[in-house]
């Protein structure tokens, strides 16, 4: 039954869309139903899904993907400054420019494989970060980050006769369609992008192209002797994932028009690697799950303090409440890093395939529990096997 659902694209898309778009409702009990965090879930979900197309399918571990995110953000902000406050051109330009950078960096880095590839991408990323922070300040505004100003030219807006009189205008989608990208509008724009991004990823996973990428991961030498020129495949995957990162960066800037160099630091690149591994490398949903969990920790766990813990454990008797607060408090607030570190370790020790494997195990267990299942498998199962749902 589950298998059947998973092998049908429209059904997957339907469920996925429903889950994503209803996130403001079902995330309420978790205290994560406010626009900014929902936006971050969607945007970093896009970033991780794109990264997974490279890392998950080809096995090439890039340590510099935050560069493309940062470039996407800078491009989008420049588009707001020079062209128009409409987000559509900004996002498209962000993807194009990131794609071009990915093409160049990927072309050079993919001359090597394994750890040598990883270090090449890392080196490019660190150079981009250092330069954005210092020498390229005229373009990036250094540490403060690139911001909008009332005096920006906005050529296209000016041509359309949109005058700005008071303060900085807000980003929008064709002015009237969506007037401002803040709040839930921002989330729904990001969510729609996420759904499209996921759909494309799903198609790639289930296409001959995607299978070839997985074959490269499995045995690249064999691919070459089977008649495939593997480098263009890898480069295509690299550029696609770079454009996903550019899209994520463009969206970040669309919702909050500020771009800073720290977005490109190696820790930011490392974060998407961790998201992907945590959720499950090479799985469809895993990277998104990983992104959500890490962002949840960063935003919710870091904000818990003793008084809020007291509220949470309110239902307990006074003594127990005190005890629980004492036990839990080192792991929240300023201790959220500690919890994150422990989660990484626990997940990888007990679930080699990330959280998705945990879920698979759970489904398997439930199935066995109810005596469901059986081994009938359709052609589609066989073809899509190995992508681990």
């Amino acid at each position: 039954m589950i298998k059947k659902i998973l092998s049908s694209n429209p059904l997957i898309m339907l469920i996925f869309s429903a889950v994503v778009l209803s996130a403001p409702i079902w995330l309420t009990p978790l205290g994560a139903n406010y626009p900014d965090l929902l936006q971050k879930f969607a945007i970093f979900g896009i970033f991780a899904i794109g990264y997974n197309i490279l890392f998950g399918l080809t096995g090439y571990l890039s340590f510099g993907h935050a560069t493309f995110l940062g470039i996407g953000s800078y491009t989008a902000v420049w588009s707001f400054k020079l062209l128009t406050m409409n987000i559509l051109p900004a996002i498209i330009l962000a993807m194009i420019v990131s794609g071009v950078f990915a093409l160049v960096i990927g072309y050079l880095s993919l001359r090597r494989s394994g750890i040598y590839f990883s270090i090449l991408t890392l080196a490019f990323a660190q150079m981009a970060y250092s330069l954005a922070y210092s020498v390229f300040t005229p373009i990036t505004n250094g540490e403060t980050g690139l911001q909008l100003s009332q005096q920006d030219p906005r050529v296209l807006d000016a041509m359309a006769g949109i005058a700005v009189t008071d303060g900085i205008p807000s980003t929008n989608l064709f002015g009237t369609l969506i007037k401002s990208m803040d709040g839930y509008f921002g989330f729904y724009v990001a969510a729609v992008m996420l759904i499209i991004a996921f759909y494309i990823s799903l198609k790639i996973f289930r296409s001959p192209f995607g299978m070839k990428l997985r074959a490269i991961k499995s045995n690249q030498t064999r691919m070459k002797y089977t008649g495939f020129n593997t480098r263009p495949y890898l480069l295509t995957a690299f550029v696609i994932s770079g454009m996903y990162a550019g899209l994520a960066g463009g969206l970040l800037a669309s919702i909050d028009p500020l771009a800073g160099a720290e977005r490109m630091q190696w820790t930011a690149s490392g974060e998407v690697v961790l998201m992907t591994i945590l959720g499950g490398v090479g799985t469809l949903i895993g990277p998104m799950l990983g992104a959500t969990i890490i962002k949840y920790f960063e935003n919710i766990f870091s904000a818990l303090n003793d008084s809020e813990l007291h509220n949470i454990f309110d239902f307990l008797p006074a003594g127990m409440q005190e005890f629980m607060v004492t036990v839990v408090s080192p792991f929240v607030g300023e201790g959220w890093h500690l919890t994150l570190g422990l989660v990484f370790m626990i997940v990888v020790i007990f679930l080699p395939g990330g959280i998705m494997q945990g879920l698979n195990n759970l489904f398997g267990f439930i199935k066995r529990l109810f005596g469901l299942g059986g081994s009938s498998s359709s052609a589609a199962d066989t073809v899509s096997k190995g992508e681990a749902s």
């Binding site: 494309i200 198609k203 790639i204 289930r206 296409s207 001959p208 192209f209 995607g210 299978m211 070839k212 997985r214 074959a215 991961k217 499995s218 045995n219 030498t221 064999r222 691919m223 070459k224 002797y225 089977t226 008649g227 495939f228 020129n229 593997t230 263009p232 495949y233 295509t236 696609i240 498998s377 052609a379 589609a380 199962d381 066989t382 073809v383 899509s384 096997k385 190995g386």
Partner: protein
């Protein structure tokens, strides 16, 4: 009959070691040609020089009228020369069916094709051929298992099937039965003699004389980088030079 593969004057040294010296070899279209020789004679090196894994120091490799030296492995594959490896080179993380689809797609798509929106399940012709070929090799019952999970003998047959599905003009087999039990070996011989494969031009490197003499139309003997002789199985059997070079080796098998 015309020569499909011509190797002439090929030299290859590793450091000071002369792995191949002045090797000349002609493979005729339609024949099954075995290359035998003791361990370290340079048999695998010779194959590697043909498929672009190694570049010879000098000499030429002409396949189907085209020079192969310096060509990338994937282009050589598309020229029609396909190699089956000694240690099975399959895709351990893909299912058997997918293992078969990859070479079939290579044949159809060429060295690179970007088709991310085509559905895999929609590739009817490719799927059918993959299933059929798997069935020919008695592997279809495993079609949804991962390549890494089947037995070694099955893996080698899978690799053979992966070569066949590309309909190569020339199939290079590197010890197709090494390490197989007698039963599996016989099955492989039958497969290679089957209707589907008997007319295919093949070069076989083999230790097992039983296999060699059951299959080969002609045999070349490679010793310390030299081809010492080429001839029909009968000629080779009675050649004193071969006996001298092979003393002890063939008796073991």
């Amino acid at each position: 009959m015309s020569n499909i593969l011509e190797i002439s004057g090929v030299n290859k040294t590793f450091g000071g070691l002369h792995a191949l010296s002045d090797v000349n070899l002609q493979i005729e279209e339609g024949e099954t040609h075995a290359i035998i020789g003791p361990n370290g004679a340079g048999k695998s090196t010779l194959l590697n020089c043909c498929i672009g894994r190694l570049i010879p120091d000098s000499g030429s490799v002409t396949f189907d009228g085209n020079n192969m030296i310096g060509m990338a492995p994937h282009d050589i594959n598309h020229a029609g020369m396909v190699r089956i490896f000694q240690t099975p080179e399959i895709f351990p993380d893909l299912t058997l069916l997918q293992n078969m689809m990859i070479p079939a797609l290579a044949k159809r798509d060429g060295t690179f094709k970007f088709n991310p929106f085509k559905s895999l399940v929609g590739e009817k012709a490719i799927l059918e051929e993959a299933h059929a070929t798997l069935a020919d090799f008695e592997l279809d019952k495993f079609h949804d298992q991962l390549g890494g999970s089947i037995s070694r003998g099955d893996k080698r047959r899978l690799e053979l099937a992966m070569g066949i599905i590309q309909h190569p003009k020339l199939l290079l087999l590197d010890e197709p039965t090494a390490g197989m039990a007698r039963h599996d070996t016989n099955r492989t011989i039958e497969l290679l003699k089957s209707e589907r494969m008997s007319n295919m031009t093949k070069v076989i490197i083999e230790h097992d004389m039983h296999v060699v003499f059951s299959l080969a139309d002609r045999i070349s003997v490679l010793v310390r980088g030299h081809i010492i002789t080429t001839g029909t199985p009968e000629e080779i059997k009675n050649d004193p030079k071969v006996k001298e070079a092979y003393l002890g080796e063939s008796e073991d098998e």
